[in-house]
Point group: D2
Chain length 258, copies 4
Amino acid sequence: MARLTRDEVLKKADALKNWGKWGPDDELGVLNYITPEDIVNAARLVKKGKVFRLGLNLDENGPQRGIFGGRWNPMHQMLATGTDAVAGKHDVTPGLRYADDAINLPTQAATQWDALSHVFLVDKMWNGYPATLVDMRGAHKNGIEKFASKMVGRGVLLDVARWKGVACLADGYGITVADLDATARAQGVTVKRADFVIIRTGQMEDRLARGEWGGYAGGDAPGLAFETVDWIHAKQIAGRLADQSPGHQVAARRARVV
Amino acid sequence: MARLTRDEVLKKADALKNWGKWGPDDELGVLNYITPEDIVNAARLVKKGKVFRLGLNLDENGPQRGIFGGRWNPMHQMLATGTDAVAGKHDVTPGLRYADDAINLPTQAATQWDALSHVFLVDKMWNGYPATLVDMRGAHKNGIEKFASKMVGRGVLLDVARWKGVACLADGYGITVADLDATARAQGVTVKRADFVIIRTGQMEDRLARGEWGGYAGGDAPGLAFETVDWIHAKQIAGRLADQSPGHQVAARRARVV
Amino acid sequence: MARLTRDEVLKKADALKNWGKWGPDDELGVLNYITPEDIVNAARLVKKGKVFRLGLNLDENGPQRGIFGGRWNPMHQMLATGTDAVAGKHDVTPGLRYADDAINLPTQAATQWDALSHVFLVDKMWNGYPATLVDMRGAHKNGIEKFASKMVGRGVLLDVARWKGVACLADGYGITVADLDATARAQGVTVKRADFVIIRTGQMEDRLARGEWGGYAGGDAPGLAFETVDWIHAKQIAGRLADQSPGHQVAARRARVV
Amino acid sequence: MARLTRDEVLKKADALKNWGKWGPDDELGVLNYITPEDIVNAARLVKKGKVFRLGLNLDENGPQRGIFGGRWNPMHQMLATGTDAVAGKHDVTPGLRYADDAINLPTQAATQWDALSHVFLVDKMWNGYPATLVDMRGAHKNGIEKFASKMVGRGVLLDVARWKGVACLADGYGITVADLDATARAQGVTVKRADFVIIRTGQMEDRLARGEWGGYAGGDAPGLAFETVDWIHAKQIAGRLADQSPGHQVAARRARVV
């Protein structure tokens, strides 16, 4: 497999980027693909009423180990405990005994969703806003709060690991368009405009089972190969998720950019 | 209105508590009322595909002002900025320019859901677990993580403020069973087993409009009167929410406990 | 009193700045004035063995109220308590029962010493280093850690409030060179090269007595008038401290810069 | 070397503890040994004016690695950067460009001084105060703030490693009374009432040189053998310090308590 050049990446970004497509003030991007009718249709698909939790615990034993960017695992701190309560420490307010706590976490802890302000293309973020609009006061454009009522739609799980017949794809494996299409076909689903596509590589379960995260938060990871960006673009999906943590589904290829 | 005595509260707690109903090891409580069929039925009710955001921003200008329990508003801290990126500070990893951030917040910040380990009855928490099972290492029973895949069902908004014809119920107003029933009737809805009942008092919008939280995080608040605990118990609902922050919907009455 | 212009400030900065005086790589500034002999002489002045604490408590009721720069008061969080210990929670390690805690504070909390990287002159910091050397990874030049073994010398208290016969100088009062000289004369001390000069305005005691910080962390404050910068420069002192919090001893005048 | 029993430890504690010696309300303990005259005499010993820094940096690469008690290394977070300043982000306040930051650290990070509320003897802390006086609101007795103006006196370095002719004592080595006396004799110093005795084991330098802390924050460490508690008690010293982090100078022996 030939190495990818920085030039190829920039060219592809230029070819596919949707900047301006929903107007110069947009901060939603491909979430704009979702229509109210899509949501109604998605709701109709609920057949069994089974609920699956996709996220990791917010946990001090989580995958962030300082590998990248000074991130840390969620820190849990108590503000009021039952031991204090039973020792009578809360009884200044008669009848009120309680527990209380706090968390301190990087927004990239555990499972999370990247805002459109997370990654820059040279000196710009999504829709062409200057990257400098993210300063010490936060993201003045493309903040994640813009998505608060927009993350609703049809989810499609593409279980690539199962289709490949493995518990977990190998670190650095690049999932191809052929893999995606074959997996969808085998499952009898069609990826449509406005879908949230969930890629299962098996890595999260593998690491949880081992009790050891290794390079999960910043090393190589199985994920979507570079070629899939055309597929994603053409499908007009609303989002893609995976069970590997970096969020960057082309981790292995990225390392090969020269 | 007669003052409520501590004895009355304890008696009522004793009469209504569901401890043991789902076995001695249960940590879900009334969420057990929800069946998969309820979820299928709830999904079928989606008609317009409109999404409403019920939560407040995680915001340093939020309602927590140190009124109660040493809580604070969410603190937002940057780990990587666009100003740094454009100044070339990220270019040790060629081609990777990004923003990153962190939050530090009490779990009672903004809008939140109380765990069954949050409030104690004398020296026990829900299902009879000893309160001392919440220590400096966290809640060893009834932690909120137990709810991760359980908060799905039918939501019923009871817009009491609208039914009363006011923008916002008065601070300390106790919503009665008659209010709840009349509001439901006027809206043409019936509260059923396993519903999530959302009470609208108007207080959150009022405070947001004023730009001033006042005692929102710990003072008097309009909310469910003490008598409604029988209604809640009998209805077998899965949860109740409100647009006033303390979570304690009988705030005004509580102050009258003698 | 005529208003100060921005141009006058820049001119004065240009006239008095010591950049380059101790070489292009220096990060100590006027602390270079202190010689080992000064320290020996300072030690000889100890006559009574009385110790005075000059700092405020690290306290959640401290002066930082979010007035400036998103700073907060020190947050104190427990990691291990005596209530947990006595409840047997530590006995996994036999015989070890203990308390433990943590603090989260802005470096400008309570009483503190400004690093030479704290304030910029246009786009440079002390000694001419680019301000951009302070990025998300910290201060790559002029960090406070450079002072770790350098803050030792003779301290001279100039009790201006006492000399003026008041408990506390008025907010915004500008202490003049005449005030400083008269106070020193009245006290029988001479300010010398390498001294740490401590100005007492009475404001800290006043606020502690009132139990109310007011604008202490960012409003007007009594402090050294602009004209004293020549005095400070000529005296070659090693540092100046005051019992008012902003650190900026010309707060009132600054507001008058046009 | 015979193993130490828990009973021997408790007997010794009972024999040597100073509880009540300075009255039932005392919170200073052996710091009471220091008189103003001791401080005057200590100051007279300054001959060369050389200053030595004994502390570690507050550093994210410090010795706390989560080995014990959920402690972490100091976290440094920026509130204002030079990159922001130069990008014009501060210019809402004309002429004010600055850097600002914050730290979040367990009080046992880097180098530190234990409060008398840190370790309990069964269910009591120093002077017999109940351990439960340390709750979620902090230490209501024996807090470290009581020491704020008390940590001044004569320091005596006992360089045991140098006397033994090694760069670093072996992990778990128990320094004996004979070692202490021989080291003092070789150095020509006499340990006196009210001294702060500093033990040098070489471990801190060793770990800094290796760039690897290992078990520094919670494993075995060279330190004072159990027998030295009699020596410490008899000498009436004001404090003991060491260049190994746990603070517990008998770490190796502790592991042998049966």
